[in-house]
């Protein structure tokens, strides 16, 4: 027994000694897919010899975490996730203003996209909203290929469309906000009511419909197309559709948390993630978002923003808390509760 305790203590102190050598630390809150988070953290840790601690959670949860830790911040930098929660954090004074020297390489609309306009957040990637269609199922059912948002409401696609619930998913909120900006609020809810008749399931996670479409669990899955491009690259029979009326897009945020304990490393991380080199890391693990650094290689699987019809997505208005609560509440009351 004594020997066992001695053994455990020795191991314990050896691991402590082992961890004592790295140059400083960095705590990253990451809202990207887990494997992309890991790849980015590993790459940064290797390059700068910094001990990186990564915590992955959805952007909504991460925002709440940062808010809860306001007086005693635990995290240093917040990477990825839809911009809205980053915006809210900036407005509520939870983020540090930082103008990275790398901004000169960043596309104009991504330099300072957040609501506060104080350089609290920078766009680190972009992704186009759309849907993907499982071509095997399409053939089996002998149905025509849908091309637009309007097509999805046709009765022949009844029970074949899947999308996340905006109550739990930022992706689905982008769908909601896109519709409102495309058609005006009243018409948007009329459209969603019609679409509701064709939905087979509202999933919790925003990337689930794309994966369900890949497996044939649904024929059509709505979501960010870079999620779906990953499935297609894995060999699934998917066709990605950018709806012909035009569509919305997301900007992935990158922000430094106010009062970060490792401010120097946090700035280094932001510089790194805005450089072409940093932005090309996720591509290697098949995360096909569009980089915002103009010099970075755009993966051929990604859907480039300049090649598709995009709406002027108003990140300021639709990123506000009131608008968000209003739209989601209305959706839950008027759309979700209706019998199909």
């Amino acid at each position: 027994m004594k020997r066992l305790i001695l053994c455990i203590l020795t191991i314990f102190f050896l691991t402590c000694a082992g961890s004592a050598f790295a140059k400083g630390r960095l705590v990253v809150y990451c809202s990207n897919e887990p494997f992309a988070c890991q790849a980015v953290a590993d790459e940064f840790a290797k390059k700068y010899d910094v001990k990186v601690q990564m915590t992955r959670a959805g952007s909504g949860s991460t925002y709440a975490k940062i808010l809860a830790e306001k007086d005693n911040p635990k995290g240093d930098v917040w990477y990825a996730g839809t911009l809205d929660p980053h915006s809210q954090a900036g407005v509520n004074g939870l983020l540090e203003s930082y103008e990275s020297p790398m901004l000169k390489e960043i596309g104009e609309e991504f330099k300072n996209p957040a609501t506060s306009k104080m350089h609290h957040s920078t766009g680190v990637y972009a992704g186009v909203l759309g849907y993907s269609v499982n071509t095997d199922v399409l053939k089996e059912k002998n149905l025509p290929m849908p091309r637009s948002w309007e097509d999805l409401t046709k009765p022949m696609y009844k029970g074949m469309v899947q999308v996340a619930s905006p109550q739990s998913s930022g992706t689905a909120y982008t769908v909601l906000a896109t519709m409102v900006q495309l058609k005006g609020e009243e018409d948007a809810y009329k459209y969603l009511a019609k679409l509701h008749q064709n939905i087979n399931q509202y999933t919790k996670s925003g990337s689930a419909p794309g994966k369900a479409a890949a497996r044939g669990e649904t024929m059509i899955g709505i979501g960010f197309l870079h999620d779906h491009a990953l499935q297609k690259a894995n060999g699934f029979p998917l066709e990605l559709v950018v709806p012909s009326e035009g569509t919305g897009y997301e900007i992935g945020g990158l922000s430094i948390i106010k009062g970060a304990r490792n401010m120097e490393n946090a700035k280094k991380f932001v510089d790194f993630m805005l450089s072409a080199e940093g932005q090309e890391v996720p591509q290697r693990v098949k995360m096909f978002q569009v980089p915002t650094n103009v010099n970075a290689n755009v993966p051929k699987e990604a859907i480039r923003l300049d090649q598709v019809k995009l709406i002027e997505y108003d990140f300021v208005t639709y990123g506000s808390e009131e608008m968000r609560a209003h739209l989601i509440d209305r959706w839950a009351k008027e759309i979700k509760s209706v019998q199909r």
């Binding site: 601690q53 915590t55 635990k74 930022g170 919790k204 996670s205 689930a208 890949a214 497996r215 669990e217």
Partner: protein, 702 residues
């Protein structure tokens, strides 16, 4: 003279006092006084130095100095009362100062503070035992204090935090109507209704199926029945959501059975007349009530089987023989004699099925679709974009109330109505076989059941070797390669090793505390026993999701900040598995006559000595098997740990669930099958070591 005095039961020598003080001072010198900023497993020397008490704040030196006052009194023999007061007051005061300073300064306790608190509690126990508590038996006094502290800290305090989040808003103002606002808010009523409806139907279905299995295994004349006795082991070793996952593989839109039906009856099927649309169409019928119902019935029936078969085999055959000799038919006998005798077991099985269904988290998460139940709704109010702690707490309260009331009914109403016909007289006579027609139809039902369960498990094991279930059935090793051959720091290894190591630590802990609680509850009467009693009721009744929410609320901020650490996961696993230890300990202790212990006490052995040399040898097999099943429970638990596991501390079950959630069914099933195999081998090994009959009994107790 002196030697004799040292031999008094429970008398403590200077060594005991000194060693506690020594441990406390050592902890003060070398362990972090405040919580390390980056966790106990990952720190640099500078951070450790900064966190040490004497470096952090000179005022903390008060604690070791006060302790040093006690050193001389290890030798100085004061009259019992006086030294008792000295120890009690001094250690009590230091505990008070310590807790107050941490709460007032809003800092998180480090390891040293925790160890010192434990030592102080021990000194406090020495003090009050000198004052006469537990007849001066220090070991028992210490055990009682330890158990009370543990129950207070890991059960009462977290549950109180749930109440606090419902009763008070974020600013700390009292909002008594918040609960009603949340409960009457949009959608919550439907969730409660969904939960109740599911719980009722699953309870009824598992009871009926369990009854069928019990009748068959105890009364049927077919050899088939031996299979049933094996099958109850399966759900114990299967993580709760794996059955749900395989139902997707079989009945999902792209599932195997859907494919088959599509091939036969679909629009282009071989049995479909030319030009007709066919009678079968792919749809998501499995996502929702039907799917959860099926998965829960499949995985919970063995529990109700165990309850009912236990009682059925204890019915005295003479009663039925009497009925038969009075020329009643077998049917009448079954209906009028056997069933009424079984009534309490049937009610018990029904209630157990209800509780387990309402508390189940994995299956609704995997299969729920839009059928929201309380447990998943709690999870998504914290994990989703809403992050509404008040809502999670309020829903948790409802679920807690639900399961506590069912538990109460079970204890008060059924606990007293025992129709067991054990009279002490040797039971004799042959068991009455089932009516022929009944046996035949039951055989049919059970064969169908076994085929279904067989397909479920085959699909789990095959699913891991198929490229993409539903789209590409070519065989592949890629899922297993992805999981197991990418080094120890990626793929499945980290989560698997976490699961193993946490469970290995949690199992002996939970068994120790569980048996200790059982010992105190069965053997000791004292003031405050009700606290422990109520604590155990809560340990039994609190659903995993509620524990998860409560721990997040309670241990996320100073003074006890544990979220994100391995410690909280180990504690959660230990608490979740504790019923195993308590039940095992209680049933074993109730079979050991107290006269053995009394004899030992009369020979002037202290209670520690008595437990060590009389009870422990008798309890050995109970301890071994309850440790084994605690380990299995810790490995397969998901509902509570899913709230607490983070990227650095994820365990096997949470890893699998995250892969399910992101749609990688192949990988998830591959991992699930390895987990089931590991557990199966482990169970067989345990049975080999401890002997079959004992483990059988143990399984039935669980």
């Amino acid at each position: 003279m002196n030697i004799k005095r040292n031999n008094t039961p429970g008398e403590i020598g200077p060594r005991v006092v000194l060693s506690w003080i020594l441990i406390a001072t050592t902890a003060y010198c070398f362990l972090p006084w405040v919580a390390l900023e980056y966790g106990i497993t990952d720190f640099t020397m500078d951070e450790l130095l900064d966190a040490l008490g004497w470096n952090y704040n000179k005022a903390t030196l008060v604690v070791p100095l006060l302790l040093l006052i006690l050193v001389p009194f290890a030798w100085i023999k004061l009259p019992r009362k006086k030294s008792g007061w000295l120890f009690t007051i001094l250690s009590g005061a230091v505990i008070g100062i310590l807790l107050f300073s941490f709460i007032a300064s809003n800092t998180s306790m480090g390891l040293a503070a925790g160890v010192i608190l434990l030592c102080l509690a021990a000194l406090f126990a020495i003090g009050i035992s000198e004052l006469g508590f537990q007849r001066g038996d220090t070991f028992i006094a210490g055990a009682v204090i330890f158990v009370v502290l543990m129950v207070a800290m890991f059960i009462f305090y977290p549950v109180w935090e749930i109440f606090r989040n419902v009763l008070f808003n974020k600013a700390g103002a009292f909002v008594p109507f918040q609960f009603f606002r949340i409960v009457t808010s949009f959608g919550v009523g439907r969730v409660i209704w969904n939960t109740l409806r599911l719980a009722f139907t699953v309870g009824a279905a598992t009871t009926v199926c369990g009854l069928i299995f019990a009748l068959y295994s105890v009364r049927a004349t077919s050899r088939f029945r031996y299979l049933i006795r094996v099958f109850y082991i399966l759900p114990i070793i299967t993580p709760p959501f794996v059955v749900g996952m395989s139902l997707i593989l079989l009945f999902g839109r792209a599932g195997m059975i859907s494919d088959g039906l599509m091939f036969l009856f679909g629009p282009a099927g071989i049995f479909t007349p030319e030009g007709s649309q066919g009678i079968f169409e792919r749809s998501g019928y499995i996502y929702g009530f039907l799917g959860i119902f099926l998965a829960q019935t499949l995985s919970l029936t063995p529990v109700s089987y165990m309850v009912i078969s236990g009682m059925l085999s204890s019915i005295n055959p003479a009663m039925e023989e009497a009925s038969l000799t009075m020329r009643a038919s077998r049917w009448t006998t079954l209906w009028k004699v056997t069933f009424p005798l079984l009534r309490p077991a049937i009610a018990n099985a029904f209630l157990l099925g209800m509780i387990s269904s309402a508390a189940d988290f994995g299956n609704p998460l995997v299969l729920g679709g839009e059928y929201d139940v309380l447990s998943t709704e709690i999870y998504f109010s914290i994990a989703g974009a809403q992050l509404d702690f008040a809502k999670a707490a309020a829903l948790g309260l409802i679920l807690l109330f639900l399961s506590l009331s069912v538990f109460y009914i079970q204890k008060k109403w059924i606990g007293k109505k025992s129709y067991v016909t054990v009279t002490g007289v040797e039971t004799s006579g042959n068991v009455t076989p089932l009516p022929k027609f009944l046996q035949r139809s039951l055989t049919l039902f059970i064969s169908f059941w076994f085929i279904l369960v067989g397909i479920v498990y085959i699909s789990i094991f095959l699913g891991g070797f198929v490229t993409q279930w539903g789209a590409d059935y070519s065989l592949t090793l890629s899922h297993h390669v992805e999981l197991w051959s990418k080094g120890l720091s990626s793929g499945a290894w980290p989560s698997f090793l976490h699961s193993l190591s946490y469970s290995v630590i949690a199992a002996p802990l939970t068994t120790l505390v569980g048996v200790l609680i059982a010992y105190i509850l069965t053997r000791k009467q004292f003031f405050g026993r009700g606290v422990i009693d109520f604590g155990t009721v809560l340990i039994f009744a609190v659903p995993g999701t509620v524990i998860g929410v409560a721990y997040i609320l309670a241990f996320n901020t100073a003074p006890i900040e544990l979220t994100g650490t391995a410690v909280i996961l180990i504690i959660t696993m230990a608490i979740r598995a504790m019923p195993v230890g308590i039940r095992g300990g209680m049933s074993a202790l109730s079979q050991i006559s107290t006269s053995l212990e009394e004899a030992s006490i009369l020979q002037r052995a202290g209670s520690l000595k008595t437990i060590r040399s009389v009870l422990l040898p008798l309890l050995k097999s109970t301890i071994v098997s309850s440790m084994a099943y605690s380990f299995i429970r810790a490995m397969t638990t998901v509902s509570a740990v899913i709230f607490l596991a983070t990227a650095g501390t994820d365990v096997a079950t949470t890893y699998i669930l995250s892969r399910v959630e992101s749609g990688d069914t192949g990988v998830a099933v591959a991992y699930g099958s390895v987990l089931i195999l590991t557990m199966l081998i482990f169970t067989l090994l345990v049975q080999l070591v401890t002997g079959r009959s004992r483990t059988d009994k143990q399984v039935k107790i669980i």
